[in-house]
């Protein structure tokens, strides 16, 4: 599996993005694409950005499963939040909770934090080390999050980046 | 169909704009601006399809990237300056 830690692989990835954007495959534009991607890799290297964390932009089979699962959760949560928006009889009971993230790496924690935010009903407010402060819209979403399934799944996917 | 989607998104933008005017805190306004940004991206995409000019998508792409940076900028400037939320 390619690893974006290596500048060459980052270049390959960027060139693929270029091809997707461009749509014009003449020698001139391909050369310009080559130069552009090289320039970007050079700047990224100067900025010391090329490391393991770049990995998350890749879509790999193991990670893809996680995204699909998350998409399902997002749809469910969306329907719940929308019902609460539209129906005044369904109450909201907002609260702040703190959860502990069990991921090892910073990237894992960021994935967890952003996954929490992506699911409507919970928003990551702050990240201090492995303690997250999360704002939950209702008691149920808070309990759900504390149940820790999301945390486990992110921890699992963390190994696959 | 595109027209109905366009109208719905325009109404959503107008509703979001009300929140941007009302505030009450700066963060509410930034939030509304951010949401209107997302809606604009989608509206540009839908309009591109409606007028048969999908090259509009480049504009939508620029928006996604740029509006993110400006949201971050507001928050960084504000937090580096202040302690208390602005209520006007």
């Amino acid at each position: 599996m390619i690893n974006l830690k290596h500048p060459f692989n980052l270049w390959l990835f960027l060139f693929a993005v270029w091809l997707m954007l461009s749509g014009h495959y003449t020698p001139l534009l391909l050369t310009l694409g080559l130069l552009s991607t090289l320039l970007v890799v050079f700047i990224a290297a100067r900025a010391e950005l090329i490391d393991q964390e770049m990995q998350v932009v890749l879509i790999k089979p193991g990670v893809l499963l996680y995204w699909f699962w998350l998409a399902g959760e997002i749809v469910k949560a969306n329907i719940d939040v929308c019902r609460r928006i539209l129906d005044p009889r369904l109450p909201i009971s907002p609260r702040m909770i703190r959860v502990r993230a069990t991921q090892q790496t910073e990237l894992g924690r960021v994935t967890y934090a952003n996954s929490i935010t992506l699911v409507p009903g919970t928003v990551t407010v702050s990240v201090e080390g492995d303690m997250f402060t999360v704002h939950a819209l209702t008691r149920e979403t808070a309990e759900d999050l504390k149940g820790g399934e999301l945390d486990r799944r992110v921890q699992d996917v963390e190994q696959r980046f | 169909m595109y027209s109905i989607a366009t109208i719905l998104i325009l109404v959503a933008i107008a509703v979001g704009l009300v929140r941007a005017f009302r505030g009450p805190t700066l963060f509410d306004r930034v939030m509304a601006g951010n949401m209107i940004g997302t809606l604009t991206v989608l509206l540009v995409a839908v309009l591109g399809f409606m007028n048969g000019r999908p090259e509009f998508l480049d504009i939508a792409l620029v928006y996604v990237l740029i509006s993110f940076v400006s949201t971050i900028a507001v928050l960084r400037v504000y937090v580096s300056r202040h302690g208390d939320p602005d209520s006007d």
Binding site: L29, I43, L49 | G23, V44, R53, V62
Partner: protein, 329 residues
């Protein structure tokens, strides 16, 4: 349908404009200004002015918001309540507005094929572009080729603006007090910015080199490129950003872009053509045009990106926590 969208967007624009006038908190005004430019960009999209819409998207919603914020951070956050009555100004504005509206009554309708603008040089640009310049995007051929002199002038103006900001604010090379903990807190922002930064830069270059085919060109590309660096500076600290692209280099780049543009013009003269005549740059005129446009767009992009970063660094480096805002130097 078209008219409905036009009218709704114009209405939203007007309401936002009024709200901006009424508000006293300058940060709130900045936010609304960025929303305002979202609407005007949408309006440009509806009017099929794709290049302008892209420019408005990149500048109005992005860099001008950021620069306004930097200004607010340097000055004050609330507008003073005016001490005088605004009745006379209101009268003047109303009269001027009425006069302008009266003036529009004589103007041709929107899209009227007999309007003077559509009968002068515009048809020639549109009809001759395919064979003379050979790029699908007429806006690019007009800006970069037919009216290359104007664009050179504009780039020089931008360069001058950069020089002006440098002269006024200077680049403070003194050691700034960076607070490393400030950036440690931003884990999520930092990681996501790290991922988006190369993609923003790449997208800017894509916009630069595809100006011939779709919306875009050197100006927009420069702005997007600079915005990428602003994101990096916001999330990784100004010190790091200045290490990646030193302010001294920015000055050189700003000048280099203009020089590249002018050099293309002079090269045309050396090869026996006129100033900024691209036809002579290659064996056949169309590929000469292509090459010329590509080079000058690159020049424009370099200058714009460098000048915007000079302005941004100039503003932000004066503000270690806003303490030296009153510094009269």
């Amino acid at each position: 349908m078209q008219y409905l969208v036009d009218i709704v967007l114009l209405g939203l624009l007007m309401i936002t404009g009024f709200a901006i006038v009424r508000m006293r908190s300058l940060l709130a005004v900045t936010m609304l200004t960025s929303i305002y430019s979202l609407f005007s960009a949408l309006l440009f999209v509806v009017l099929d002015a794709v290049d302008v819409a892209l420019t408005e998207a990149a500048i109005g919603a992005g860099i001008s918001t950021i620069l306004l914020l930097a200004t607010v951070a340097l000055t004050t956050e609330y507008e003073k309540v005016p001490g005088h009555r605004s009745l006379l100004p209101l009268l003047v504005v109303t009269l001027t507005g009425a006069a302008l509206i009266y003036g529009t009554l004589d103007m041709p309708h929107y899209g009227d094929p007999n309007a003077p603008v559509h009968r002068h040089v515009a048809p020639e640009y549109i009809e001759d572009t395919p064979e003379e310049v050979g790029v699908p995007n007429v806006v690019t051929s007009v800006l970069a080729s037919y009216r290359g002199y104007d664009t050179l002038g504009e780039v020089t103006v931008i360069f001058t603006a950069g020089v002006g900001v440098l002269a006024l604010l200077g680049v403070h090379l003194r050691k700034r007090t960076e607070q490393p903990h400030d950036y440690k807190m931003l884990v999520v922002l930092r990681v996501i910015a790290k991922l988006l930064f190369p993609l923003i830069l790449l997208f800017a270059l894509y916009v630069l080199f595809h100006g011939d085919y779709g919306p875009g060109g050197g100006f927009q590309a420069g702005v997007i490129f600079a915005t990428g660096f602003v994101l990096y500076a916001l999330t990784h600290g100004l010190g790091n950003a200045e290490r990646v692209i030193p302010p001294a280099l920015l000055g050189v780049l700003a000048a280099a872009g203009v020089l590249l543009y002018a050099a293309v013009g002079i090269e045309g003269m050396l090869l026996g053509g006129k100033f900024l005549e691209y036809n002579v740059l290659a064996d056949d005129p169309v590929s000469g045009q292509h090459l010329g446009i590509l080079l000058i767009e690159t020049g424009v992009g370099i200058t714009v990106a460098a000048v915007i970063l000079i302005i941004y660094f100039g503003f932000v480096s004066r503000r270690p926590g806003g303490a030296d805002a009153q510094d009269p130097s």
